[in-house]
Amino acid sequence: MPSRVASAIAVAVAVGGSLLLGNVKLSILVGVGVTAIAALGLDVLVARTGQLSLAHAAFLGVGAFTAINVGSRGAPWPVAILAAVIVTSAAAILTGLPSLRIRGLQIAITTLAFQEFAEEFLFSRNDVTAADRTLSRPSFLHSDVRLYLFALAALALVLLVRYRLSVTKAGRSFLAVRDIEDRARCFGVEPGQSKLLAYAISGAIVGLAGSVLALKAGSISAKDPFLLLESLQLVAIVVVGGAGSAAGIVTAAVLVKGLPQFSSTIPLTHLRAVRIVPIASAALLVVAIVAAPQGIGGLYRAVGRFLDRRLGARGRARPEPRPRPTDAVAAAHGAATLRLVPRPLPLRMPVPALLEAREVRVAYGGVTALDGVSLEVRRGEIVGLIGANGAGKSTFFNAVSGLAPVKGSIRYRGVELVGRAASSRSALGAARTFQDLGLLRAETVAENVLLAQTWLARYPAAAGIVGLGSALRTERELRRRAGLALELFGLGHLASERLGDLPYGTMRIVEIASAVAAGPDLLMLDEATAGLGPDESHALGDRFLAVRDELGLTLVVVEHHVPLIARVCDYAYCLESGVLIAEGKPDDVTAQPQVVESFLGRADAATGRGLG
């Protein structure tokens, strides 16, 4: 790929060229590197979890002063760095603590409060700032070139951590928390814990930046680099660079931090860099967020695409964005593999029904969405749930998957679900789809199928980031399962496509494949045929039957398409205004007058329209 070659050359030229600079400039570049690392740490929060910290300059100070305090008392330098990373991470966790309870952006205010507290309290204390102490550099870092190389190594380490995040469950959970916070719980994601972990990782990276700064400076008396202004400028660097783009952020750090120190005036103008650059970066921040949210990174990507188009030997043909026919033998083999998942609870026998709801009541404020609904689903059945819009069908799914406040009892495999965390239910074997897609449109199909298997990724997040063997093995296994699930639905050729680029009907099938990849016993499909044409609906009905038989699944389907219900369902329930009004064989249910009335208004007003 020409763009890869070009970026490799650009990085090599930049690094090689910088090594030819004199000592003073290299020393400036170490400072720029510190800023870049801190910004990359902030970016983990901004780009991956959609949260913001206004205290990253304060965290930088916490890291630097910790390193000086520990290192100047005779601890070897790796210990000083480790201490800085741990203490800063703890400070970040403290400010992020409310994320266990809240979903909004109010945590930005706790970080602002921390920034203020650090400026006024921490950094004004001599025991914190170690005013009378000096951290002496280890002998191998005595020259400026070596310190610069050391800073580059730290930067490379951070890039590696960011990469490991993106290919393990932690990074996927962060994205899910950002875009589909509630629904992600159905995959086994714990939103609060994920956000806290993001704060911890972000803080750890900034702590590393702080310790590099400490090694550079030895002792720090002025608190200027750690003030609110700097925190806000770090946000500016992330946004102007382009959230999520490491290359863009490093470039922005060089421009904002390096330019004023490298030249007294802006090139080609007489403007004084020290005065203009900060204010220009603030203006650019506003312009970027309004008009160019991709920032410099977006520019780089555009150049890369241009190079690939112009110089690429042959462009990759876009695959047909629809499911392909599947190979029955391969599908059966894949299905057998997908069923092999560990279950945390033993199946209590004898259980008459796989799912048994008793007097389920769901109320939001004064509105009762479900009122005394009792129904059961037997193993291997396909059960239809019908009713007009607002009848409570999706609410019932929400009740089973833990996204609605339930009174009553819902037993699954004999285990009471009410009171269990939503994130634990996929492990029990209940998976679902959403009426309006509960996946990440900005990510690839394969990433989404991996996300849906979060509950199966039972390695510690840290093991994934470090790349321990157990985590690598698990991830390999999850990727294999994702491939099998996609093949099962004829979607294998679309694995690396961005989900949002696919037709809506195909997205819906990707969602079903994702749910199946999680290895459920019970699959709840919410209007799976919405947005599909008649032929596609018919084909999907065949898939329901095949999936039930191949995977030994039990299905509950919410459907408006009555012929499909009649064709595939063993049993049907009809809801109206939160109350069950009919149940029985699908044909019997859809023939009942009150069901017809519920669907079409009064039966005698329904002239000219038939069910379906």
């Binding site: 901004v46 959609g50 949260q51 913001l52 206004l54 403290l94 400010t95 603590l97 409310p98 266990l100 309870r101 809240i102 979903r103 909004g104 952006l105 109010q106 945590i107 930005a108 205010i109 706790t110 602002l112 409060a113 921390f114 203020e116 507290f117 400026e119 006024e120 309290f121 921490l122 004004s124 204390r125 916070e181 939103p191 609060g192 609110l228 202004l229 806000l232 400028q233 946000v235 500016a236 946004v239 005065r275 900060p278 204010i279 603030a282 203006a283 921040l285 506003v286 967020i289 309004v290 008009a291 949210p293």
Partner: protein
């Protein structure tokens, strides 16, 4: 102790003016603005400059009491400009984008102040006179007393506005569901503009009272003051005007009491940090808010 509480209440009242603006913007547009402090400060900086050097073109040196009015008007005008140029294009984008945009505005205004007025603390004479009042042992300067009066006035005005006027109802409808409100013929854009203009005016007012009360004005100082207002708004509940007032008063009192009790630098900042975190963990939607828990 009682004297400290009274002093704290007067500071809290000034924070409340900013906090009510923050809540107004949040209620109407779902955006959390951290620019309010700097919007107000910029207005008051301009007012002070004009009082000292005369209004450009007119050569008229406004009286001190007029600086209050100028701060208010400039704050309102900035609010209108920010709403139209920065915030409206962000409608429909993730809430983080709006927050970052207000941060950019705050950073830009603070740096502009630094460029125009320098980093030294600007002497800020009180726009409302130099008289003092002793209340229950606490000596309150004029800006503090006026802040208390204004906060009470704003609370009353907010109550009347939201319960008794057509436009207030339109604002509440927009809060509920902007799309539906638009379909019902409610001028949603006017509601957005109203929120930013009103919040800008309140911020200007607050800056003109807080600056003199705290011994002058420097760039970024108001961002720090507005932290207390933001903390107050979050503690009270981001969607509740009353919550913003109660929360801000609470922050003001806490700050005064802790600052008086402990001489360690930063003790009151530590207290505010602990209060914000503890409130959000124990009661995510704030003291009087209706939403926010997960």
């Amino acid at each position: 102790m009682l004297a400290r509480i009274i002093t704290g209440l007067s500071a809290g009242a000034a924070y409340a003016l900013v906090a009510v603006g923050v809540v107004l913007i949040y209620k109407c547009t779902r955006a959390l603005s951290i620019a309010q402090g700097e919007i107000g400060a910029f207005g008051f900086f301009i007012a002070l400059r004009w009082a000292a050097r005369g209004i450009p073109g007119l050569g008229w040196h406004p009286a001190r009491v007029v600086t209050l009015l100028i701060a208010l008007v400039v704050g309102a005008a900035l609010g209108a400009a920010i709403e139209r140029l920065v915030m409206r294009p962000l409608v429909g984008r993730p809430p983080l984008d709006a927050l970052i945009a207000t941060l950019g505005v705050a950073l830009f205004l603070a740096l502009l102040e630094k460029e125009l007025f320098g980093t030294a603390t600007q002497f800020a004479p009180s726009p409302v006179g130099e008289w003092k009042l002793v209340v229950l042992g606490a000596t309150l300067t004029a800006p503090r007393i006026v802040a208390l009066a204004f906060a009470a006035g704003v609370a009353l005005a907010a109550y009347v506005f939201f319960s008794r006027t057509r436009f207030g109802l339109a604002v509440r409808a927009t809060t509920g569901d902007p799309t539906v409100a638009r379909l019902m013929g409610i001028p949603v854009n006017r509601v957005y503009r109203f929120a930013w203009v009103a919040a800008g005016a309140l911020a200007g007012l607050a800056a003109a009272l807080l600056g003199p009360a705290f011994g002058g004005l420097t760039p970024f100082a108001m961002t720090k003051f507005s932290l207390r207002a933001l903390a107050g708004a979050v503690i009270g509940g981001l969607d509740s005007i009353w919550g913003a007032i109660v929360g801000s008063l609470l922050v003001g009192v806490l700050e005064a009491v802790v600052g008086g009790q402990f001489t360690t630098a930063g003790a009151s900042e530590l207290a505010v940090l602990v209060l914000v975190i503890a409130t959000l963990v124990a009661r995510p939607r704030g003291l009087l808010g209706a939403e926010g828990a997960s």
